[in-house]
Amino acid sequence: MSVGPFETLASVRDFLTRDVLPAVPKEIAGEVRAAVKLLEDVADELDWLPAVLHAECEEMLALRIKTQDVIATETDDELRRKIVSPPGNTREQLELHRTMSGMVTSVVLKLQAGIREPSLESDESMKWRDLLDQHYAMLGRHAETRLRWQSVFEKRSEP
């Protein structure tokens, strides 16, 4: 077996910390430390990302189906199939996630515009608000998951 990806990233971090950091001028040292931290965060992200992307795409699809009663939204079969059986490649999974996120953006903006319409009936309005709240809650959870992969603010322990 060759050197694994996480071991490779760890050895680059080690090299930067032990050999590069003491050798660079003080004004660059902060950037080298940031680079080390980024490699650490990204290693952890790569470890969890495929499972997270899959779960989030499924959740976005489920909410999209729920929204169909209120807003005319279509999800083609090919997309559904990809979400149920996600691509093995992380880049393709990221692309799929991006596509779903774009669709969610469009729905959220429609729901926001809709609840501002004075002509919307009261019970319809409640339905729209409830769906919008579910979207905000879902997206908030997705953001919370990613707090683990950044080092500027307090981290979260488990995705």
Binding site: E27, E31, A34, R98, D133, A137, L139, A143, W149, S151
Partner: protein, 343 residues
């Protein structure tokens, strides 16, 4: 602001010395030039200046601030320098501005030289005096209220212009444009926040000078306790509650809110110091806006205008912190939605 042109200390020393010789004559002595940490859009260098090498007491501690590039988010350096001169003269606690070179800079980019307070930052000051956190918080809030109470039309009327439309519309438009241009993928919550702000801008609000980035690491102290508010590049004329909301973004143990005062105590202290009531609904609007503004700043850092320079890892780190903003946007939008449902 994404890229940094490498500056060798020797080159900077040489260029800076030439500039200072032109101001003070050949006997000028420049020593201790060193880069300070921090700063997302500019570099800060400390140095000591002596105009008479034989007299120790003539040594003056100074700071040089130079932009990484001309791609600034707000005030240009020359305007910022005049602003600082006026504020210093008006008794606002800022470091004394000394020089500004923005046309023929000998160090490749425009720069400002100002007084360096030989003191400490807020973290060290709080660590030295843990019991004094509340008193410190109250005095800093009073400084912020003092900035808002300044008669800006009289002091800065020819330096800063009020927004053409109302402040909320103008600020939302400016920062939304930056955030949208710099977004790399569908940033659903960010776009939702921008949409919400566009539909809920308050009709009228007072116009005051706002610092735009009034937070703990933009406050420095000298050993006597004198404080100076630094980094005025985001200052402008707007609703004072915009400034409060941006201060309320930062809530670590060293921050004004969260570290020194609770949110409610901070608002009460501000109301007491400014003599005006804080409209909670308007504050909510600016709190959501603050998230969009900081998102725009983080995202802009990920863009480099130069093919010769890389994006600094510290800016990539800020870009990766976007979920922190998104999570807060989700909370705020849910609050707005549920409050209206209850109403």
């Amino acid at each position: 602001m994404g890229a940094v042109a490498p500056t060798a200390t020797d080159q900077l020393h040489e260029g800076l010395r030439a500039f200072l010789v032109a101001q003070y004559g050949a006997s000028v002595k420049l020593s201790g030039l060193r880069r300070l940490t921090g700063g997302t859009s500019h570099e800060t260098w400390a140095f000591d200046l002596s105009t008479s090498p034989h007299a120790k007491e003539s040594i003056r501690p100074l700071i040089l601030r130079r932009d990484f590039s001309d791609d600034r988010l707000d005030l240009d350096l020359a305007t910022e320098f005049v602003l600082l001169q006026r504020l210093y003269a008006a008794g606002v606690p800022v470091a004394e501005p000394v020089f500004c070179e923005h046309r023929n800079s000998p160090i490749s980019t425009p720069f400002i030289i100002s007084e360096r307070l030989p003191g400490t930052d807020i973290r060290k000051r709080m660590a030295q005096n843990k019991d004094g956190a509340r008193a410190l918080g109250l005095s800093l809030t009073a400084i912020q209220a003092g900035i808002h109470c300044l008669d800006w039309r009289k002091v800065l009327g020819d330096v800063l212009s009020p927004p053409a439309t109302n402040a909320a519309v103008s600020e939302v438009s400016r920062w939304s444009r930056i955030a949208t241009e710099c977004a790399r993928e569908p940033q659903t919550l960010l776009f939702a926040a921008i949409d919400w702000l566009g539909a809920h801008a308050p009709d009228d609000s007072p116009s005051t000078l706002v610092h735009g980035d009034f937070k703990a690491n933009n406050l420095v102290f000298d050993p006597t306790g004198r404080v100076a508010v630094i980094d005025w590049e985001l200052s402008h004329i707007s609703d004072p509650l915009e400034d409060l909301a941006f201060t309320m973004l930062w809530t670590s143990q060293y921050d004004l809110v969260g570290g020194m005062l609770s949110e409610e105590d901070y608002i009460a202290a501000y109301e007491h110091a400014s003599g005006s009531r804080v409209d909670r609904e308007r504050l909510f609007f600016w709190r959501l806006f603050a998230q969009v503004k900081v998102a725009a700043i983080f995202l802009k850092g990920l863009r480099t205008e130069s093919v010769e320079a890389s994006i600094r890892p510290s800016l990539v780190m800020l870009g990766r912190a976007m979920p922190w903003i998104e999570q807060r946007i989700a909370e705020l939008l849910r609050n707005a939605l549920n409050e209206r449902n209850a109403a």
